[in-house]
Amino acid sequence: MTGLSFLIPIALTMGLLGLTAFLWALDKGQFDDPEGSAMRILIDDEAEEPLP
């Protein structure tokens, strides 16, 4: 029984974290242009700001 008092809160917290992350990503518009996001990975933006 004592195991449950740890495991259940942990499971629920992890689930909630996942849900929060999903809702956050949704609000930030990360699902608005999935095709474009896939393309943007390939853009080498670093070239313009040299590493310190």
């Binding site: 689930g15 999903f22 809702l23």
Partner: protein, 707 residues
């Protein structure tokens, strides 16, 4: 679309313009556009939406749309400013949010339920039930809202739809489970309720995404609209103005090659206009001072000054749009297959659940046990697989059609297309390319062709563009020209090295068709006389034959003159009606509909708009006018007409799969319902049955992607 907003960078006030850029293909394009535009003075930021092939540019309000288009051209991209459209694409976000919540609840409750099923008893079982209740109650209240709202909307006007049994099932199950939890009963059904919502929301999300995707795609294809024009102020200075800000009495300057943004009377200039978008008439019309011209016409040869008589919502185009809204009433009456199924299904299920309850009461079971069995019947018959059956099949089918260049605006269009048994075609721009193409391109060869291409590229006249298109497709490379000069109403002149070259209207009239011909002149010598004509789409004949095999008899309904229509009708071996005004086209559609036919209208022009809206289902090529694209259910890309029979085939296959899905879903109910009525269904059996039937339906629908 331009709107004002505040801005972070140095610029104080800022407008936003939405542009369609169909030529974006890769990450390099995104980077080039976003970085390249910011470097242009006056532009604050640019954001690419790759999926929709659109770019939102924030810039100073003084910057006119043509300047932005020019900036895109500098970067090597063709761009079109988009006009604000009335209907906003449906947003899938609230549904996705609900789906996330339902998914979270389902997973965690299932975790607890599995513990109960594996043998938890006594106090730990009660605790698991309470935890499930705490998770399920807010989740059902939040994620169930789309269904509750829609069910309430239908019930209030005395109808039922698919959402009524869903809402009743979910609410009853949750309430009953809560009661069981409080009274420390052995079975609760929170997992079933949330899982049901999760599966059903998946179906809804798919449906909404499909609709949003197709709408955005169609929006980015509007090319023939004029978003604005140059207005002369009191001092005679020209300013760029968006079409919606124009008013009657203003003086509008229309350059050769521009489309009119408002209706008006010509006060200065003589030119020829192409009104094919409005009337379907293919030959250009000569206009001069005092003539009335309307928005959407293309000014061909010389600049015109026009006194605006009607702008914005008063324009002839806008009036036609309103006729269309009336004509589409019949389509609004169409009941989607899922709702038709629900009309039979919902009462049947509710009667069954009520009968089980009454039956067990009569058989001597307590009201508590009888109620539990009634709820079990409700949840086992809840149209989980039914809710997925239609959207999954339609999403897979529209995804496949989209890859083939056919945009379907919503699932109901696919259902209606499957029913079509009669086809009507417009001529100009639908059966034909709608743009003049050179008939004797072989008269140009070697350097002559290269010179002609260089000249043609520098001009926006339809003949030049047709010539440029067919020379480019032959792999001709243009020569460099200098001092390119446009001679209004005549043609275009330039220097090629030391030689004067020109692409101009024939000086000597060969015959009556001098409107549709140009001479290529090199060093004052005519080297080629090119004749233009509107051509049939490459596979028109094949497409018509294929439609006939599919059982759709076709005919032509055109606004063009008898002679032009007869020629095409003979080539395609079709019956035809010429000189049809928009009203005649509607009448023809209504006449066929009254005779019991399901008419598929394929058109493109503004004059087809009302008929497109009145027909049972309609398709337009992507070259169609803005109004045509808004009125139609389906937009197809490319030059070919084979997309029409292809879409019909896919629509029919989809419908067959949907029916199979219904049979599978109902078949599962036939097996499970007796168990539920007998009172032997536990929450575990319900959960298993629900996921299994949903998976079978999804798997069956995925077959559409492969065929």
């Amino acid at each position: 679309m331009t709107r004002e907003s505040d801005l972070p960078t140095g610029i104080k006030r800022c407008s936003e313009t939405l542009l369609a850029v169909p030529g974006m293909h890769c990450a390099g394009c995104i980077s080039k556009i976003e970085h390249g535009l910011v470097a242009v003075s006056g532009v604050a930021s640019a954001r690419v939406d790759f999926g929709a092939k659109q770019v939102t540019v924030a810039h100073v309000p003084e910057m006119p749309a043509p300047a932005l288009v020019a900036a895109f051209r500098q970067l090597g991209f063709e761009a079109h400013a988009l006009v604000a459209s009335g209907d906003n694409p449906e947003d899938a976000r609230p549904l996705l949010r609900a789906l996330g919540v339902a998914g979270f609840a389902t997973m965690n409750i299932m975790l607890l339920s599995v513990s109960v099923w594996s043998g938890a008893t006594g106090a730990s079982r009660d605790m698991f039930h309470w935890l499930s209740a705490i998770i399920a109650l807010p989740a059902v209240a939040y994620a169930g809202r789309p269904f509750f709202r829609s069910a309430w909307g239908a019930l209030r006007v005395g109808r039922t739809n698919m959402d009524v049994p869903i809402a009743i099932g979910v609410i009853l199950t949750t309430a009953m489970s809560l009661f069981e939890t409080v009274t420390r009963g052995p079975h609760v059904w929170f997992d079933g309720a949330t899982m049901l919502l999760f599966f059903l929301l998946s179906g809804r999300v798919l449906d909404a995404t499909m609709r949003a995707r197709a709408r955005r795609g169609a929006l980015s294809l509007m090319q023939s609209s004029a978003p604005g024009g140059y207005i002369l102020d009191a001092q005679g200075v020209a300013h760029w103005m968006m079409a919606e800000n124009m008013a009657a009495g203003m003086m509008l300057l229309v350059a050769a090659g521009d489309r009119l943004a408002a209706d008006g009377v010509i006060t200065q200039g003589t030119s020829r206009v192409d009104s094919s978008i409005l009337t379907g008439e293919s030959a250009p019309r000569a206009v001069t001072v005092g003539d009335q011209i309307t928005a959407g016409m293309l000014n061909l040869s010389a600049p015109l000054t026009v006194r605006i008589t009607a702008a914005g919502a008063d324009r002839a185009i806008a009036r036609l749009t309103r006729i269309m809204a009336d004509a589409s009433q019949s389509r609004a009456k169409y009941v989607r297959i899922a709702d038709r199924a629900a009309r039979i299904y919902a009462p049947a299920v509710h009667t069954l659940a009520a009968l089980s309850f009454v039956g067990w009461m009569l058989a001597g079971a307590g009201w508590h046990e009888a109620l539990l069995i009634g709820v079990a019947v409700l949840i086992i018959t809840c149209p989980c697989a039914l809710g997925l059956a239609v959207p999954v099949a339609q999403v897979v089918a529209t995804g496949r059609l989209m890859r083939a260049g056919v945009l379907v605006k919503d699932g109901s269009a696919l259902e209606r297309l499957a029913q079509a048994d009669r086809a009507l075609f417009d001529k100009t721009g639908t059966l034909t390319m709608g743009a003049p193409l050179p008939q004797n391109i072989d008269a140009l060869d070697g350097t002559n062709a290269q010179v002609a291409l260089a000249l043609a590229q520098a001009n926006r006249h339809p003949l030049s563009q047709g010539l440029a298109r067919s020379l480019t497709s032959r792999g001709v490379v243009p020569v460099p020209l200098t001092q390119i000069e446009e001679m209004p109403g005549e043609g275009i002149m330039a220097r090629w090295g030391a030689v004067t070259v020109a692409l101009a209207r024939p000086q000597v009239t060969h015959d009556e068709e001098d409107d549709a011909a140009v001479d290529v002149t090199i060093a004052d010598k005519v080297v080629a006389h090119i004749v233009f004509a509107d051509q049939l789409r490459p596979d028109a004949l094949k497409a018509i034959a294929k439609l006939r095999i599919l059982g759709l008899e076709s005919s032509i309904l055109s606004g063009d003159n008898v002679q032009a229509v007869t020629q095409i009708a003979r080539a395609l071996n079709l019956t035809a009606q010429a000189n049809a005004r928009p009203q005649d086209k509607i009448d023809a559609v209504k006449h066929l509909t009254a005779a019991g036919a399901h008419v598929l209208m394929v058109g493109d022009g503004l004059n087809d708009g009302p008929a497109l809206a009145a027909a049972h289902v309609s398709m337009v090529p992507s070259s169609a006018s803005e109004v045509g694209q808004q009125a139609a259910d389906i937009v197809f890309m490319g030059d070919g007409l084979m997309a029409v029979p292809q879409a019909v085939t896919v629509a029919r296959r989809t419908q067959a799969i949907v029916v199979q899905n219904f049979v599978l879903a109902v078949g599962y109910n036939v097996l499970a319902v007796p168990l539920a009525v007998a009172g032997v269904v536990t929450p575990m059996i319900a959960a298993l049955a629900m996921s299994l039937s949903s998976m079978i339906v999804v798997a069956n629908s995925l077959r559409l992607a492969r065929a």
